[in-house]
């Protein structure tokens, strides 16, 4: 899309160097594990080797006796009486009576070196009584499954449900039976996806310090340090206000660093060691065993379609396990799975199920990729059956502004139709295909979250601006926020410095999650800038002795608004800043609140694959991401989000999965076995940025970070089906599974 015709901005839509680029290409940027303090101790965590086991006894005496060991903690060192999600967080940080999954923390030690800490952890003796366990979601939901946490179900679960169902939900509208009766074709099928990990390359790391005065400090890699503060405080039984948390640079998160896993342990160890700071860094196996993963899913879908492609009804039932705690993203999977379609009738049912696995954390568009895999696969199969072009079918049923969504609210301004048109018109959609090659498409949807947001900005003496935000920069946020501030202020991009500041420096900020940072912190920064501009206009008005309403801000300077205001030369930001000390003192602006006007983003992917019938290997030949960005502030980083999301989806579709042994232990705990896509697996990832500006944001921004991981799972399944006529319904579509499906097809 020729975006230059669509806007007349000076900076928005350009591709300047990111301000943190220099630090990140020279090794100077400080990530979680790069931070150290003088006299610091090192920690190590003792973890359960069992999927489900009663902790009979923990003997820490040998560990405590080792020279250099300064503190050993178990759950006995934590406060009791927590309830709800706070209890869940505490229980996940360190097991109480029962270890609930392989890798569950049961004790932790702090010592004068990392090697001594590791040695001491091995000396902690834990006596377990191994209990029966359940891993698979379809097993876990059985009425006679081992009950993992009796009493964990919330009020949404009707009487008589199986013991591991902890949340139940229903949504939708219209009469689906009537809709199915009107259809020319009704199909239904069951789909399954396995748990995957966010796979950020930086393991979790923090340095925590907690003094005998009850005040604590932490340096940590996180997507949201206010969340770290409140969650850690809850687990430790202190007020959040007593902790001060600084976010390091972050080495990837994808949702997995929006919560706590081991951070409170560093504070508890520090406190026990008399207030000496404690560094805690996970290794990769700990990351895979005890943090992050997303849910695994088992999903039934039924859809009714007329011969011309018009949809008449859809019904889905999703079952997802999110580990041994409530919180699988089944609700969001339900909300997103039918979002692209204007449906007269829809029924959505979801079960959140416990299993003996780590506590699920958010993973990029949580739940949406699984739901899309099920629904978009079935849509494709039906198009094939009715000989319809899959993009035409989607255009026929596409939601538009004002349509009611399948999950309830009406859509505001959205760009699905524009996205589908752009995908259809792209040359990739017309490329000829060879033998064993196939093309698949799928749509995807994700929300845009606003969230609690605090931003402040201040004008420096030299007329430049510094902006303080609380959303860690995970993929170019400083650049996009700085561009928007500079645009509004009328100064050079280089004259705005954006800093991610600690919890003591701003009001509360939700994490960089929900595709919100450029939307929410960006909008807040623009509003804060407007406040500062107002003050600068007032200073000029005072000097000119005219009414402040008679001053306007143009191109980085105050000037009289029209000929009646008086004749004065424009007063530049540099002049105003230079003398602000004598004209009323510092000039700043700030915003605290919940920025309104979120803009959701639809995407559509087109993928070509080649399947090797001998090995079952699937090669990605071409990949196209088309997505509505509202307006791309820094198009290169928008493309980066599209490409990164697509490739995570490719990994999930083709290869990644949590593999458990019959003993309930995770078997692939290193990157060699939990293999994420590498450069040689992939072609270039083509992108088209569609821009249907979000009217709720000063520059039209929509959240773009998450939608991109939603379509790849079904798009690739659809491409495989097109290539070899085999319909894959269980991820990952690795060579073994594809080969087995080919074999089954041949009979």
């Amino acid at each position: 899309m020729a975006k230059d015709e669509m806007n007349s901005f000076r900076l928005v839509g350009t591709r300047p160097d990111r301000p943190d680029g220099l630090d990140k290409v020279t090794g100077r940027a400080r990530y979680g594990a790069d931070f150290s303090l003088p006299g610091m101790l090192w920690a190590a965590v003792v973890r359960s080797p069992h999927a489900h086991a009663r902790i009979v006894k923990i003997d820490t005496s040998k560990a405590e006796a080792l020279a250099g060991v300064k503190a050993v903690i178990t759950r006995a060192d934590f406060p009791t009486g927590l309830t709800g999600e706070n209890w869940n967080l505490q229980e996940n940080t360190m097991a109480g009576d029962v270890a609930l999954y392989d890798g569950h923390a049961v004790a932790a030690v702090a010592a004068t070196s990392a090697l001594i800490a590791r040695e001491a952890a091995d000396l902690v003796e834990v006596e377990y009584e191994v209990l029966p366990h359940v891993i698979d979601v379809d097993d876990a939901i059985k009425p006679d499954a081992v009950a993992i946490r009796p009493g964990a179900a919330d009020a949404s679960v009707p009487e008589g449900m199986p013991p591991n169902v902890v949340r139940y939900m229903e949504m939708g509208r219209g009469d689906v039976e009537e809709g199915f009766a009107e259809a020319d074709l009704v199909m239904e099928k069951t789909y399954r996806t396995e748990a995957t990990h966010q796979g950020y390359i930086e393991p979790h790391a923090c340095v925590g310090q907690m003094g005998t005065d009850g005040k604590g400090e932490m340096w940590v890699c996180t997507q949201g340090h206010w969340y770290i503060r409140s969650m850690s405080a809850a687990v430790l039984g202190v007020e959040a206000s007593q902790l001060r948390v600084t976010a390091s640079e972050i080495g990837g998160g994808f949702g997995g660093k929006t919560t706590i896993f081991m951070e409170p342990l560093s504070l508890a160890l520090s406190k026990k060691a008399g207030g000496v700071p404690v560094k805690l860094v996970m290794n990769r196996a700990e990351v895979l065993r005890a943090t992050g993963p997303t849910a695994s899913a088992s999903m039934d879908v039924k859809v009714g379609m007329k011969k011309d492609g018009t949809l008449t009804a859809a019904e889905v039932e999703f079952r997802m396990q999110g580990g041994a705690f409530p919180g699988s993203p089944v609700d969001m999977a339900l909300m997103c799975c039918l979002a692209p379609y204007n449906l007269p009738a829809a029924k959505l049912v979801g079960y959140d199920v416990l299993a003996n696995r780590p506590k699920a954390a958010a993973y990029r568009a949580p739940g949406a990729p699984m739901g899309a895999f099920a629904v978009e696969s079935l849509m494709d199969e039906m198009c094939r059956e009715l000989q319809l072009d899959p993009i035409e079918m989607r255009l026929k049923n596409a939601v538009r502004e004002g349509d009611r969504s399948s999950f309830g609210p009406k859509f505001g301004s959205i760009g699905l139709v524009e996205v589908l048109e752009a995908a259809k018109a792209h040359p990739n959609y017309a490329e000829p295909l060879g033998e064993n090659q196939g093309r698949g498409v799928a749509s995807g949807y994700w929300f845009n979250h606003n969230g609690e947001t605090s931003v402040s900005m201040a004008i420096s003496e030299d007329g430049t601006a510094q902006v303080s935000v609380g959303t860690p920069d995970i993929g170019g946020g400083r650049a996009s926020i700085g561009m928007m501030v500079a645009e509004r202020l009328g100064v050079a991009y280089e004259d705005v410095r954006v800093n991610v500041v600690e919890t003591g420096a701003l009001g509360i900020n939700e994490p960089t999650h929900g595709s919100r940072a450029t939307f929410a912190s960006g909008k807040a920064a623009v509003l804060a800038t407007e406040q500062a501009i107002g003050e600068m206009c007032r200073r000029a008005a005072k000097e000119w002795d005219i009414d402040e309403d008679a001053v306007e801000w143009v191109d980085g300077a105050a000037q009289p608004a029209g000929p009646n205001a008086g004749k004065f030369d424009p007063m530049s930001i540099v002049e105003i800043a230079a003398k602000m000390g004598s004209t009323g003192g510092p000039i700043s602006g700030h915003y605290e609140g919940l920025p309104s006007g979120v803009g959701a983003s639809f995407g559509h992917h087109v993928v070509d694959v080649e399947v090797d019938p001998e090995t079952g290997h699937v090669k990605i030949l071409r990949y196209l991401v088309v997505q509505d960005a509202g307006r791309a502030i820094h198009p290169a980083y928008v493309e980066g989000q599209f490409q990164g999301g697509a490739v995570q989806g490719i990994g999930w579709a083709l290869n990644e999965e949590y593999v458990y042994g019959p003993d309930g232990r995770l078997q692939n705990t290193v990157f060699l076995d939990y293999r994420i896509p590498v450069a040689s697996d992939l072609p270039p990832i083509d992108t088209v940025i569609v821009e249907v500006p979000n009217p709720g944001h000063p520059y039209g921004v929509r959240g773009v970070g998450e939608t991109g991981i939603t379509p790849p799972l079904p798009a690739i399944a659809n491409a495989i089906s097109d290539a070899i006529g085999v319909r894959m319904t269980h991820l990952p579509m690795n060579p073994q599974k594809v080969l087995a499906a080919l074999k089954a097809q041949k009979g």
């Binding site: 290409v25 020279t26 100077r28 990530y31 080495g251 493309e639 990164g644 590498v678």
Partner: protein, 161 residues
């Protein structure tokens, strides 16, 4: 376990440290020498975030023991720019092409890319992709990384981009 005295050359400077025989070269670079630019993403040689040059050979420093550095020459990300701070073309092109998002894998990928271009100044896209197959990046999908390396290679060959 008693520590062993190690003398080695890092980015052209002679340095000394005391290493526990169990410590990796990566541990020693980060914890004894304060060179935290090399990252530990896996500790098992799978992710490439700790890539350094050891006597001119590309290695995962998490798979080398610190004591093995005795008498060797080590080059890390911290030594990649000129002494006056002028960036290597690869570093500049990574910024220009937005070839990093979180930036955690970036030092390892830069070190590995430099090693590639020393061996093969005119690689095909496929050669770049296979050379970097040992360096995991979870943010970018590799697209912009590959473009940045190709562009830097062209510039280093004296071709105008």
């Amino acid at each position: 376990m008693s520590k062993i005295h190690v003398t080695t050359t890092v980015n052209g400077d002679t340095v000394e440290f005391l290493a526990d025989p169990r410590e990796t070269l990566l541990d020693c670079l980060r914890d004894h020498l304060g060179l935290t630019g090399s990252k530990e993403g896996c500790g098992t040689g799978d992710c490439g975030a700790c890539s350094v040059m050891l006597d001119g050979r590309l290695v995962s420093s998490c798979l080398v023991l610190g004591v093995e550095a005795e008498g060797k020459r080590i080059d890390t990300i911290e030594g990649m720019a000129e002494p006056d701070g002028t960036l290597h073309p690869l570093q500049r092109k990574f910024i220009e092409h937005a070839a990093l998002q979180c930036g955690f894998c970036t030092p390892g990928i830069l070190v590995a890319s430099k090693a590639l271009l020393a061996e093969n100044p005119d690689p095909t896209e496929e050669e770049v992709r296979y050379w970097l197959a040992g360096n995991l990046c979870r943010c970018t999908g590799y697209d912009k990384i590959i473009r940045a390396v190709m562009d830097a290679a062209a510039e280093m060959r004296g071709e105008v981009a």
